[in-house]
């Protein structure tokens, strides 16, 4: 009897206290379904481990983090409704979205709801619109386009180079920047084309490349199409080297394209797995049977960014968080993060990588 009263008392206390001790709701959003779902999967795994780690220590400001997951399937319309749903749930931090074409419209909603967000979307327009709540923990397409284009123009001067994109905000933006950088080096493009993402047949593009004598193709778009183009080029007897952006870190490319993936180059931020300070986390991911490739570590870093900013600001209010994120410097698994006035990562840096035997490493190594 006595015990029961105690129990009732406790639960009463818990009830009364719950508004004060509610968990911090943080969220991720990206393509959890759809053809780019594997990227969403990486983000989820990274964020989940980060939150488990943060909660395992002391949480943030003495409270636990709780993760909400939003699925935009890389569809801009769905991204906006995900953003609205998240704003309704009163999340206090968002890591997402992934596709630039989703991040851009969704960010307006978060801005209105005063939710700070950290994104890996690389299209320049993400931060060029003057929204104060956006922080980009990845580099920008104009930076990676410049690196990719310069590399191509220098390395393949004597070969015919084509630039192709998939018409998405990310793909076209990146391809335009690569083309600009190549032409800036006074190298003429053999072909400038666009394709439709999500199709399976790219034989027409391959024939066109073949008849134009193209050996090197820069591609703005996602890994699924690159794998198909490679396979179909191989089938048509065309040896093609493809240079792409950060999306080609996905190992699905290798499973889908097989040995042909050894001809794939891409640009990405310096590999976080090579960061000695992150060795411990990398091992924890591998123990959990998660290879911390692609966006896994970025999702982890985004949660660290939030936790550190909140601790620093001693608050989870939007204005305080925003100020802390903009002004501070944060130690994360992807290195030191700090942001400029637009919210862009101050030291992104892009490296050129090459796939080889199912693993990627800096080119030339």
């Amino acid at each position: 009897m006595c015990k029961n009263i105690l129990l009732a008392g406790c639960s009463l206390l818990a009830l009364a206290a719950s508004p004060v001790y509610a968990d911090h709701l943080v969220a991720i959003a990206g393509p959890m379904t759809g053809q780019y779902a594997s990227a969403g999967d990486q983000i989820r795994k990274g964020a989940e481990l980060a939150i488990a780690d943060i909660n395992g220590k002391a949480g943030v400001l003495g409270q636990k983090l709780k993760l909400e997951i939003g699925d935009d399937a890389c569809d801009p319309k769905q991204a906006v409704s995900v953003a609205n749903a998240m704003a309704n749930k009163k999340i206090i931090f968002m890591h997402g979205h992934w596709c630039s074409s989703s991040t851009i419209p969704a960010s307006d909603v978060y801005n209105e709801a005063q939710i700070p967000m950290a994104t890996v979307s690389t299209n320049p327009q993400v931060t060029e619109r003057g929204l104060k709540n956006i922080f980009r923990i990845m580099g920008r397409d104009d930076q990676q386009g410049l690196v990719a284009g310069t590399y191509l123009a220098d390395t393949f001067k004597s070969k015919k180079i084509a630039v192709v994109d998939d018409k998405s905000a990310y793909g076209k933006g990146l391809a335009d920047e690569i083309a600009k950088a190549i032409e800036g080096k006074k190298v003429k493009l053999a072909l400038r084309e666009s394709v439709t993402a999500g199709e399976k047949d790219y034989s027409a593009l391959v024939s066109k490349l073949k008849s134009a004598g193209v050996e090197v193709m820069a591609y703005g778009g996602y890994h699924t199409e690159v794998a198909l183009i490679l396979r179909q080029a191989q089938q048509a007897g065309l040896k093609l080297t493809i240079m792409g952006g950060d999306t080609l870190t996905n190992s699905e490319l290798v499973t889908a394209a097989g040995a042909a993936s050894d001809n794939v180059l891409f640009t990405f931020s310096p590999d976080p797995r090579k960061n000695p300070a992150a060795a411990d986390i990398v091992k924890r991911f591998r123990d959990a049977k998660v290879e911390p490739e692609g966006y896994v570590m970025y999702a982890y870093a985004a949660m660290q960014l939030f936790a550190q900013a909140a601790e620093k600001a001693k608050s989870t209010k939007y204005a305080d968080l925003e100020k802390a994120m903009r002004g501070g410097s944060f130690d994360t698994v992807i290195g030191k993060l700090s942001f400029d006035a637009k919210g862009d990562n101050k030291l992104p840096g892009f490296m050129v990588y090459r796939w080889k035997g199912g693993k990627y490493d800096y080119v030339g190594k």
Binding site: K200, K210, G213, T224, A236
Partner: protein, 304 residues
């Protein structure tokens, strides 16, 4: 010239696949007057069955290519036809006789169900198979451009032609074909004549699923990758092919498929790949303006 020939080959290959799927749409429309939007996803399921079967055979150590292809084809056709039957039985038959919109919505629901089922059970990742049929013939070389016919392309074209011949025979000459055509004309009358209408409709769905399964296997061999999303684009294109050729008409579906494949291939090669879907659908609109029932479709005669 060489490029044109190459694109003719590419276009025919693509068109043959569209055509095989389109027949499923057109047959179902012919017999019960509904668009089976889940048909594209049946095709997707068949491709997954093919990948599973290929992996299974590889693990059993069967390396003979013709044997592997044949086994996979048979397995995929069998399992997919069961799917075709089950979809009809669960999603459409209970709604027969209700408003025209009900089965349509049910079809869209079935399509979403199949997509999500495959995504959840097989994962969202792209499923690849190692190249099964490598190599091909170099037909001719003009100005350094070699026209290449891959074995897998040849396989697609040959199998499609063979299936079409067999299929016209089944519809035109067998008693099942006669029953099916009778159901198309008047279901009540057919039932009065002692033909099991429900069974005929079920068989039609299974037949459509079988053709989609063949397309699924061929595509898996040709492109080497499948994901749970392939049914959507292929379904839309095949549906367009069926409408272009005249929905309800079997040769029309094949013709529509080939036309769409060729339009896409040539437009992408000579104009811009960017606008190839615009071109396809513009031609569809043009054809429908002048021939509202499609290229080979018969205009519906109002019965008095």
């Amino acid at each position: 010239m060489a490029l044109a020939l190459q694109q003719l080959i590419n276009g025919l290959t693509l068109g043959a696949v569209y055509g095989l799927i389109a027949i499923g749409y057109t047959m179902v429309y012919g017999i019960i007057g509904m668009i089976n939007f889940a048909h594209g996803d049946i095709y997707m399921v068949s491709a997954f069955i093919a990948v599973t079967a290929f992996t299974l055979l590889a693990s059993l150590g069967i390396s003979s290519v013709p044997l592997a292809l044949l086994t996979v084809l048979v397995m995929s056709v069998l399992f997919t036809s069961v799917y075709g039957w089950a979809v009809e039985r669960t999603a459409y038959r209970p709604l027969r006789g209700s408003t025209r919109l009900a089965p349509l919505i049910s079809a869209i629901g079935m399509s979403i169900f199949l997509q999500n089922m495959v995504q959840l059970t097989q994962g969202a990742r792209v499923k690849p198979i190692p190249p099964v049929l490598v190599g091909g013939f170099d037909l001719l070389t003009v100005d350094g451009f070699t026209v290449h016919l891959a074995y897998s392309q040849l396989l697609i074209i040959v199998v499609t032609v063979a299936l079409m011949t067999a299929f016209s025979y089944v519809i035109g000459r067998t008693s099942f074909g006669r029953q099916q055509r009778a159901c198309e004309q008047d279901r009540t009358m057919t039932a009065l004549l002692g033909i099991n209408v429900d069974r005929t409709i079920s068989l039609t769905f299974m037949l459509g699923a079988m053709l989609a399964a063949v397309a699924g296997v061929l595509v898996t061999v040709y492109y080497g990758v499948v994901d749970f999303y392939i049914g959507f684009v292929a379904g839309i294109k095949a549906f367009t092919a069926a409408v272009l050729g005249g929905i309800g008409s079997l040769p029309g579906a094949m013709l529509g498929g080939l036309l769409i494949g060729l339009i896409e291939a040539f437009w992408a090669a000579y104009l811009s790949p960017e606008y190839k879907d615009v071109a396809t659908f513009s031609i569809l609109i043009l054809v429908l303006m002048f021939r509202p029932s499609g290229l080979l479709g018969r205009p519906e005669v109002e019965k008095v």
